[in-house]
Subunit: 155 residues, 2 copies
């Protein structure tokens, strides 16, 4: 099924391997790091170009999990994301959780939602518990995904 419509280059093959290896939620830079471990000359712009291409082919999708870079993962098993605004914790939300929203969006506005492209932000269980007082949603402050380790085994 590889690269229908284009050429099979080493950079492309390597990018796909990186995607399969690190199942889910890598930034372009994460993937670049993995690919460059074997092929140091593969440039980040090539990564971006191929991610674009693979997305156009429907092989993968990108998602915005918050401020900061986009995350890429294979298109199989469609799911949305819940991301904690405090700690960056990300949980995959199965498509059926969006069924109610999808239905009312369609009914009221004729709108068909795609719950995959942008994450739903909020507060994870741990952060809700650790909260001082229920002051609505004031004190938000920018957070960064991607733990101290940088790429890959992130969290």
């Amino acid at each position: 099924m590889r690269a229908r419509g284009g050429r099979v280059t080493t950079a492309r093959r390597s990018l796909l391997e990186a995607l399969f290896a690190s199942s889910g939620h890598c930034t372009a830079e994460d993937l670049a790091a993995i690919v460059q471990a074997k092929m140091p000359d593969v440039h980040i712009s090539t990564i971006y170009r191929n991610l674009d291409e693979l997305e156009r082919l429907g092989v993968l999708v990108h998602t915005h999990l918050g401020h900061g870079p986009a995350s890429y993962h294979l298109a199989s098993s469609p799911h949305g994301h819940l991301v904690c605004e405090r700690c960056g914790e990300t949980v995959e939300a199965p498509a059926e959780m969006f069924a109610g929203l999808a239905r009312s969006a369609r009914k009221r506005f004729g709108f068909r939602i795609d719950p995959r492209h942008f994450a739903v932000l909020g507060a994870c269980a741990a952060c809700v518990a650790a909260e001082p007082a229920p002051v609505s949603f004031a004190g938000r402050r920018k957070f960064t995904q991607r733990g101290p380790g940088g790429s890959l085994g992130d969290r």
Copy 2:
């Protein structure tokens, strides 16, 4: 109620006026344009700093309606957004549309969602109707919000 904790400067007052005048969904640059119409020397960085400040005070919130710049609006009347990936059409989604999602997120993950911060993308009624064949969600391509007119009266 103005600027509790800080000073009342002309730039700040003017920014608030711009926000009240153009009810809802302005980018920082839109707001800068409005402010600069009267005070040409107010710099965009000042706009950003004050938007940050006002958000910290809970006066306004920012939302990401897609790729591209963030939108700011007054914190009153909490609502989410549905944004068409094809044409950029934006509709305000009343909070209760997210009730089902909020409930299942809490039940399954202890997660408390904030439907305001990121928009839910998808396809608006017009674009769904104009669609050739139901090819799932392949052919996405980047879109730009902000119609030809630029700031303000945008749609």
